[in-house]
Symmetry: C2
């Protein structure tokens, strides 16, 4: 055996796994949520379960394991960067897939499916208490998973690491506490501002075809390649990637408010640019995907918020918006810009503005961290939730649906996941500062519609590398610094100081 032959065999094998992922996680799932006739679901589920099983078997292939063991024995300096990244990725994948005993994992999956059903019922009854037994069991499982996966300091670290390689409570706390305190104080300042920002509660019928045309136009303008992707509709916006040449955005049009379609086009579109920008060469190594969920989120955040809610973008694009939605004729672009950036604490995370959104996430982070680490109990969670909303956002949920029942995540087994949203914002603004320092005519690029230049910069710095680097490595390579909270805080201050005349 030699390294070249070994790598060749691994690549051939990994390609097979990628083909099946393309099929199952890409096309079959996309079809399921956008195209499939309802009665097709039962058989589709059988097919998808079979292919998932095939992926699982292929990942345990004996020759693959032998080849990987051979590579492990080599001096990493003798291997390319990509090979080392691939090995790291495969090892991570193994840890999460095989460290949990099969029977235990099956029981967990069964619990989750019951918990999700119970959550839907509890939402209807606006009653959190019935979910407590489920949440207790789920928390127990995640404490055990943390043990199986391993951690240095505290169990919750293991869950953070699952979503964001190298992340720990220590690192996050250092950033989140500073950010939280800043936002809480800053929110008070904003609340004290005398600026009157209208939020325009549209209740008009915005023609769907015009929203579709706007979506396609914006996607084209930011550089989305419609020969290597498409846009469809479903209840929940998302993006499904078959390959870098077949990226499928899923959006949603609301007759009463075109702004959701606008922000979704930019959010999912940003992710689409990322997926389309991944280097062809990365297929066959598990690296043909984004660096991490938080970096993918950072790009989405850049396009949706930093770019899409900027004066430069909105002022340039406003005449086209008026063309699509004549109702805007009576609203000035500046008032529209301010309305899109209005700060107002809300009970529901999904309705939150760019500033207070982070408090929603931090509350969830603080609660799940303490739950997993055993510092609080399930029976106290609702009260803690409500108190934190009062303390941080100044509003107390009047009922469970407007409070702890709003997200299905915990009942779907997402523990350690929420923080990536704030991390995404931090990465986004740090990258954005670097972008501005390199593109000294940044404002002109936006206001003159030369947006392809942004895509090209991101592609060179981030997209093309796929998952060769993890978030920590990538942010250092792109910005010459480790992740810091300062850029985000400065960004928020600069933006809202102006809007609120502070």
């Amino acid at each position: 055996m030699n390294i070249d032959l070994c790598l060749k065999q691994i690549k051939e094998h990994v390609k097979k796994i990628e083909y099946l992922r393309y099929t199952n996680n890409g096309l079959l799932y996309w079809d399921k949520i956008t195209q499939m006739p309802t009665k097709g679901n039962e058989y589709r589920s059988e097919v998808m379960a079979y292919i998932a099983g095939q992926i699982h078997s292929l990942s345990q292939d004996e020759r693959l394991l032998r080849n990987l063991a051979f590579l492990e024995k080599q001096n990493p300096d003798d291997l390319s960067i990509r090979t080392n990244s691939m090995l790291r990725k495969i090892k991570r994948n193994y840890k999460y897939t095989y460290n949990i005993p099969v029977e235990e994992y099956k029981a967990y999956i069964h619990l989750i499916s019951k918990a999700e059903e119970a959550w839907a019922i509890s939402k209807k009854e606006n009653n959190f208490e019935m979910l407590e037994p489920f949440l207790e069991k789920i928390v127990c499982y995640f404490r055990k998973f943390a043990d199986y996966w391993g951690y240095e300091n505290e169990p919750y670290d293991a869950l953070l690491e699952y979503y964001e390689e190298g992340m720990t409570v220590k690192k996050i706390d250092a950033m989140f506490i500073e950010l939280r305190n800043f936002i809480i104080d800053y929110l008070k300042k904003i609340n004290g501002s005398k600026e009157n920002i209208v939020s325009f509660d549209f209740n008009n019928k915005f023609i769907i075809d015009n929203q579709i045309n706007m979506t396609n136009e914006i996607l084209s303008m930011i550089g989305f390649d419609f020969e290597a992707g498409r846009v469809d509709q479903s209840i929940h916006p998302t993006i499904l990637t078959c390959s870098n040449k077949d990226v499928r955005i899923v959006t949603n049009y609301d007759k009463n408010d075109f702004r959701k379609a606008l922000t979704t086009a930019l959010h999912e579109g940003g992710q689409g640019l990322y997926e389309q920008g991944i280097d062809d060469e990365l297929y066959g190594s598990f690296l043909a995907e984004s660096a991490s969920m938080s970096i993918l989120e950072a790009i989405a955040d850049y396009y949706e918020n930093i770019f899409g809610k900027s004066e430069e973008f909105l002022f340039l694009y406003y005449p086209k918006l008026i063309k699509y939605f004549g109702e805007l004729e009576n609203i000035s672009e500046y008032d529209f810009y301010r309305s899109l950036n209005k700060v107002e604490p809300t009970f529901i995370r999904m309705d939150a503005d760019e500033l207070t959104y982070n408090l929603h996430i931090i509350i969830r982070y603080e609660i799940e961290k303490d739950l997993i680490n055993g510092k609080i109990e399930v029976k106290d969670v609702k009260e803690i939730w409500n108190r934190k909303y009062k303390d941080y956002l100044g509003i107390e949920p009047p009922n469970d649906n407007l409070g702890i029942l709003q997200d299905v995540h915990w009942f779907s087994g997402y523990f350690g996941y929420f923080p990536i949203y704030v991390l995404g914002n931090l990465y986004a603004t740090q990258i954005y500062e670097k972008l501005k320092s390199e593109k000294t005519d940044y404002r002109e690029i936006i206001s003159e519609g030369r947006w392809i230049e942004l895509q090209e910069w991101f592609k060179e710095k981030i997209f093309s590398h796929g998952a060769t680097w993890n978030s920590e490595e990538l942010i250092y390579l792109v910005t010459d610094e480790n992740l810091k909270v300062d850029y985000f805080i400065n960004y928020l201050k600069e933006k809202y100081d102006k809007i609120y005349n502070l």
Copy 2:
């Protein structure tokens, strides 16, 4: 080993193959022709080739082969009808898949891909001669394939058998010669008729949305279940079946003539009813598909021609057609009915009427039979083609595009395939006579729009059984007779005698 355990293991294994066929031949192919962005094609082809290889490997699984060998040794009387059918189907499949040496098959596939490209170029240049070397090689391959597959009397029998189990030149000749002679004579009679039938060369812009609504309405009315199927658009109408609960019709709308959408809805819709009507129980046995291509074609022919071009259907549906296409207001339903059934020899098969269509097929059948059996040579084929068109249809192609270049089939390796179109017509009319004899109020069923009763009859007699029976067995079970040409001839005579006042 006992029979029950053996059958259980076979079923589990066959299901896996069915899952992958569902994925590859159903969904991935459907997506490729209706949804996929163009640049996605290269990677898609890799994925589809991989899954096809997996299907191939699964079909050679050792335990499956052992189980099949065990069943083969049993007395067929000890096995259920379905088990015997499954065994026969698997044996057929093996013969066609594994009797050709792999290297030879690869070389053939390579030749076909070149031949298809050459065909496209020859069409542009309106020049058949450049295709002759390809056709010679393809014919050589099929002579060899015939030897690999085996036959009793003549090589072409082996190719017929591939598409229609049990079919031979002897059986077909007995029917096709009678049918050909009848149509040639009858065509002369029609040409001598003094009836003036207008064909309405529409050149209007028929609104696509109205054609879509018409298509959906007709499909619903004949019983197509939109919760277990859908309709999409592509260049060539077809149907892709994922499962009996997920059947995807692909149609095509022509702004200048809605009649294509009308006949396509009925043709593909008929096939859709068949696919949706297959019994759930047949999954896991390779029998969850139509009895044969010719029986599937027969159902399509029934809905498109026998039903869809009947007075009863057209008179009932005409007011709705006028609603969609106001241009029809000045045309009486009887004139419209006659225009849809106008007989007029054409150079192009796809433009042919219900009567002369059969001569197009018979010409192809006669030529390919003689080619494979070595009675004629490729260099003479074009001349023979043109002479037969003159002799049978009374028109001589003025150039290759209007003659021998019109179909890609031979250059795609379809030898032995064309006859199923005429066989489909024969099966259709024989089944239709049985239907009328059982449903004595047949005309009322059509003219009162009780079309679901037709679907129910077909489902009980044909659809639900899937491929449990082959065409020969099925026609005997449904009509108590073997296939005869008389029903079709009588049907044609009755129909056109009236229209042409003969």
